[in-house]
Amino acid sequence: MKFSFSEEQTEFRNMLRRFLNDRSPTTEVRRVMETESGYDAEVWRMMAEELGVAAIHIPEAYGGAGFGVSELAIAAEEAGRALLPSPFFGSTVMAATAIAEAGTDAQKQALLPGIASGGTIAALAAAEPGTGWNADAFTATARPDNGSWRLAGRKSYVLDGMAASLVVAAARLPDGGLGLFSLPADSAGLARRPLQSMDPTRRLAQMDFDGAPADLLGGPEAGAPAWARTLDVAAVCLAGEMVGGAERLREDALEYVSMRMQFGRSIASFQVTKHKAADMLLEVELAKAAAYYAAAAADDDDEVDQPLPALASLAKATASDTYMQTAIHAVQMHGGIGFTHDNDTQLWFKRAKASEAFLGTAADHRERMLQHWNA
């Protein structure tokens, strides 16, 4: 088990950070989040074509770079740090993983290269209204139709669902099992609409399936394990994204209090501020350790004493608690200005808030962690 990053991984991180500092500073995030698509297509094209971000963990056989979840999570962490609005998480992290895990070789050949190139944006329609990502509660159904399938039901919180041209959907098979399906986003019988997202830097959609024709990825047995692995990979990457955001908030708040004077002295000199900053550092470091460990476990679980679902859920739960707590502290350290629209803290605050719920709450994931825990 490794507890450090390789030189290549560090170089990849630094390259991404430089790129995002340069091409997606907060001024750009603010501009892009007001646009209809919610992301900058040119930045996404450069990230995909020049940095290979869309292809990181997609196998080389399918046009990808063949790296692991660790590298994918590094990209997520840097994206979270920069609050990058992009289809990275919806398309590469979620949809591509589902296809790679469930699809036949032919399906992967057909679908993954497009995603890997960044040219195809895919979205994973799995969560359902109210019940979220709990697969036991999925009610959307698939029925066989002349050697193909037709889907019915409502999916919600579909990340990058409006931007996607390719949809991967989870639906219940006639025998109650779980199937993963692919279909073009403009299929007849698939209606989608944007949801009003609290976090304007991350777009969600609702999708209504009404007999939309779809391909079953792999066989009827492939869906359940593929979904489980996809959720784990997504949770690990979300944990990475959240610790990236939390660290940025922590650093910015520290810089702010270090610059500001009150009562004739630096705000950073007040003991209460110092101790809060120390606690924030502690919490972020602990959450980072969890995110990194879970990512390493996703790539190589040989030397890990807990199964991936336990570690992924642990990482998601602790990162989302930490992100939110850090955001609350960061607003407070800024004082009134931290509550304004013009101060950037609120952008990360909203991402933290939305990330608490995305993929399931911390309480959900703590329960899931224990269900998989090796005691």
Binding site: G130, Q262, G264, I328, H341, A357, A363
Partner: protein, 418 residues
């Protein structure tokens, strides 16, 4: 006048209202009648629109007005702080010029104390007032100025002496907001509302006779304003809606209420809305989840105990008992309540906590809670300031060493503001 009994007063008010009250009058016309009669502010001096009654009689008179549905003088917003400050420290000119417009509601006010460079440290103001060509010339910037975007006048704290120590270099002005040197920008919050403004002064002018209090006595005058602000903090919510009766005067009053209350429409949400938790948990199908129930119980417990604590404080006050610590912790308790509620609402909402507006299943109410609660631990004195106050004033712990009151203000380290 003070020899009248409460019953006498009630009888007099009723008689006067019987003779004069008519809901089809114009609001300003009616309020001018109140001013002439003295019934609008009966506890003010007779020479200044009142009847010189004891302060305790004012609620009695108000009760009689309420019974008959009679509208009173304009009482909402910063104007009450202006009136209190002018009554206590103003010259006859100030009183003559401003009190009537305050009471009729024709002229509105804003407070110009906080600055981007100070925040909790009001006495650290660096907006400057320089006496040039027989006038005070104002340059600088203020912030968190509720209603400044429609105010006619401002209560301005500005620095007139940079060689004096911090609190002694400030003076206080009654500033005309309708002049070229004053620019107001609304400040949008993270919850989308715009309750505050920034105000920029570029060679704005105050005639010398509109300084209030002596030169260098600005902080003393400001403490009057601040004391009334603290007292009135609860008042805002009590006047949150106008009457829904028919009649011209009510229509005009509703319009006034809407304007004054606009900055506060999200205030219920920033408290965290403990009242919604159980109904939301049931609606979301999470009322049987033991982990959710624990969080809801914690939030309800905090909300109720904070409420009971406030009632203990009120009852002690009513009984004339010595004020215990329970009277000083409400602001800090409100922060904790709001955060606990936000946690519980997030857990209840589950995935819907990502949504807002029409999509969050509550018409955006829960989303507004989640992005409004951070304000409650900042606005009106941060949690940190509250803890300083509690530890120093209630628990008599040593004050923080000061590094800004022992030297000329120009030598005090401070923020550079652009």
């Amino acid at each position: 006048m003070t020899d009248f009994t409460e019953d006498d007063i009630r009888a007099q008010v009723r008689a006067w209202l019987t003779d004069n009250w008519d809901p089809e009058r114009g609001l300003v016309e009616w309020r001018n009648m109140l001013i002439e009669s003295g019934w609008g502010v009966p506890h003010w001096p007779e020479e200044w629109h009142g009847r010189g009654l004891p302060v305790g009689m004012a609620p009695v008179v108000e009760e009689e007005f309420d019974k008959g549905g009679a509208v009173g003088v304009a009482k909402m917003g910063i104007r009450t702080l202006a009136a209190a400050t002018i009554l206590e420290h103003g010259t006859d000119l100030h009183k003559q010029r401003f009190l009537r417009g305050i009471l009729t509601g024709e002229e509105t006010w804003c407070q110009l104390f906080s600055e981007p460079g100070s925040g909790s440290d009001l006495a650290g103001a660096v907006t400057r007032a320089d006496f040039q060509g027989g006038k005070w010339v104002i340059n600088g910037q203020k912030v968190w100025n509720t209603s400044a975007h429609h105010a006619d006048f401002g209560l301005l704290l500005a620095r007139t002496d940079w060689d004096a120590v911090k609190h002694q270099g400030l003076s206080y002005f009654l500033l005309d907001m309708r002049q070229p040197g004053v620019e107001v920008h609304q400040l949008r919050q993270m919850n989308g509302h715009a309750s505050f403004n920034q105000v920029f002064f570029t060679d704005a002018v105050v005639e010398p006779e509109y300084q209030i209090g002596g030169l260098g006595e600005g902080w003393k005058v400001a403490t009057t304003t601040l004391m009334h602000e603290r007292r009135g903090a609860d008042g805002v919510r009590r006047y949150a809606t106008g009457s829904d009766r028919p009649g011209r005067i009510y229509e005009e009053e509703r319009a006034e209420v809407a304007t004054v209350m606009a900055p506060y429409v999200w205030y219920p949400q920033r408290t965290g809305r403990a009242d919604l938790l159980i109904e939301r948990a049931k609606a979301a199908g999470r009322w049987d989840d033991p982990a959710v129930r624990q969080e809801v119980a914690k939030a309800l417990t905090l909300a109720r105990t904070a409420e009971w604590t406030a009632r203990r404080a009120r009852e002690a006050q009513q009984l004339g008992l010595p004020q215990g610590p329970e009277g000083s912790i409400g602001k800090l308790a409100a922060s904790i309540v709001a955060r606990a509620c936000a946690r519980a609402h997030t857990m209840i909402a589950g995935p819907d906590a990502m949504l807002t507006g029409e999509d969050d299943g509550t018409g955006g109410v829960v989303a507004e809670i989640l992005v409004s609660t951070p304000a409650i631990s900042i606005a009106g004195g941060t949690d940190e300031i509250q803890r300083n106050i509690i530890s120093e004033r209630i628990l008599s712990m040593p004050k923080e060493a000061r590094h800004d009151t022992d030297r000329p203000f120009r030598d005090v380290p401070r923020n550079q503001v652009g």
